[in-house]
Amino acid sequence: MNKIDNLKKYIVKDKLKLDCGKEISNFPIAYETFGKLNEGKNNGILIFHALTGDQFPYGINPITNKEGWWNYALGPNKAIDTNKFFVISANVIGGCMGSFGPSSIDPSTNKPYGSNFPVITINDMVNAQNFLLDHFKIKKLFAVIGGSMGGMQVLQFVSNFPNKADVAIPIACTASHSAQNIALNELGRQAIMADKEWDKGKYLENGKSPSKGLAVARMAAHITYLSKKGLQEKFGRKLQERDALKFGFDADFQIESYLRYQGSVFVDRFDANSYLYITRAMDYFDLTKQFNGNLSDAFKGSKTKFFIISFTSDWLYPTSENREIVIALNAIGADVGFIEITSDKGHDSFLLDVPDFLNSVKNFLNNSYKNIHEARV
């Protein structure tokens, strides 16, 4: 845990009232930045991570020693060009990469919060990250960008701060978490809580680890990030280092072995309680309901230019749900573009090397920046 203590953090001194009613202050937000903030401070981009992401989208994550989660999209000369833009990436509150979360120490007990951590929402995450902008003295960002849960944060950010971003790119997301997605998250949570080692959330103070439950949660979730066609093409019925079925419950099939591996590496980098809290935040996300059933009202008065992106094979946050956002924006005459990218890689497409997607983001960002900030000649 020492390594996590050494990560770059901003301590928010202000008070933040959470949706659950509790108030927090003096809490850390772990963050990283990439590129340079220009003199006019108009090239800032805040990117929001997905459920299991962190503040390390680019380069090598110092905790996991693995490549950043958005290495395809972000970096010098990439879609989000760090030669041009100043990118801020923060770990959400509720997370486990240094930001205020269930594994943080509760000063009143000197033990990790565990299940005593307050239930947080997407709204709380966004409000917390907004403090970072004060820290960098950025009055208006050029862009807010994120996929999946990151996309939900983009929508909430523009709704909360209507004129704090020139452009917004919500990717593969929804304005209202569906019953299917709540069900899938509940499956993961039940797997964690069914593990005896979870210990009612007190595993950290009691030296335990619900790694089996967390691994199952990850395995189930991982399937939802892929597509049937993608799985079939990559694995089919191929066997794992054997010539014939073994008539047992070992990993006979490559797909089984792959999922077990995904589960096992996940538990090394992720906190089970964070998984519970963050999935809960996603389930509670319903921007339409926040505005009494009219999603358009969430964006009324915003001059932000939207670019919404979905993927053909994403069944977790399908095109239809992304299109709802487009429809709500069109209803109020907002500036909105939309494209559905063809890809067999499922929901995970936004994290992968999908050239049509990466080119769209790059062209949209570069053209928009040129039109908004460089056109005054």
Binding site: N330, A331, G333, F338, I339, N359, N367
Partner: protein
């Protein structure tokens, strides 16, 4: 720059709010954006074309005009443009009414099936016409509902849709279509360009 696009652009007031339905690769939108109004967006069904529009820095929504115009509020645009696409819809009448609901004015252009070259092809060759404006063969044409300029004018008149401007384009030659010259223009025009109000 196509002559057709120049004429369409000349019909539009500066700084109006415009929707280009079936905007293709965005050539017309780009011209309008740079010369007439920044407040323009497109609706386009082809993913490849949407990509090209984004490359040009245009605001485009991927979608199908027959299904997706419903999301725009009444009279939310000053002009809705439909360039040489009406004949390709399953239900052109419904689309035209949608254009006139969403836009205060619609600018619609149609390839004229009454042009003499088309008539000659059918009359003497006995084959489905293939011309510069109608380059496809009968088996691969996207055009489901071809019509002549006269058909279109009659269609609008029967429904009390006001044709506030009717322009004929033949090669580079631009002229007005009037009641008195309708039969002649129906023979000589390659393209009809109409500004319509409800």
């Amino acid at each position: 720059m196509k002559q057709e696009f120049k004429i369409i652009s000349s019909l539009i007031n500066e700084n109006s709010k415009i929707l280009d339905v079936g905007c293709g690769n965005g050539e017309l939108m780009k011209y309008i954006l740079e010369n007439i109004s920044k407040n323009i967006r497109g609706l386009e069904i082809s993913k490849k074309n949407v990509q090209e529009c984004i490359e040009k820095g245009l605001t485009v929504i991927e979608g199908n005009a027959e299904l997706d115009l419903g999301q725009f509020p009444d009279k939310s645009f000053n002009y809705v443009i439909l360039s040489q696409t009406l004949q390709a819809f399953l239900n052109p009448e419904k689309v035209l009414y949608e254009l006139l609901r969403v836009g205060k004015k619609a600018i619609v252009t149609i390839p004229n099936f009454g042009h003499w070259k088309v008539r000659v092809d059918l009359l003497f060759k006995g084959t489905m016409p293939v011309t510069e404006n109608l380059p496809n063969e009968w088996y691969n044409t996207p055009n489901l509902h071809m019509c002549t300029i006269k058909d279109f004018v009659t269609f609008c008149n029967q429904r009390d849709l006001k044709l506030t401007k009717s322009i004929s384009l033949s090669g580079k030659k631009v002229s007005y279509i009037k009641k008195s010259n309708l039969n002649y223009k129906n023979l000589t025009s390659e393209l009809g360009i109409f500004e319509i109000e409800k």
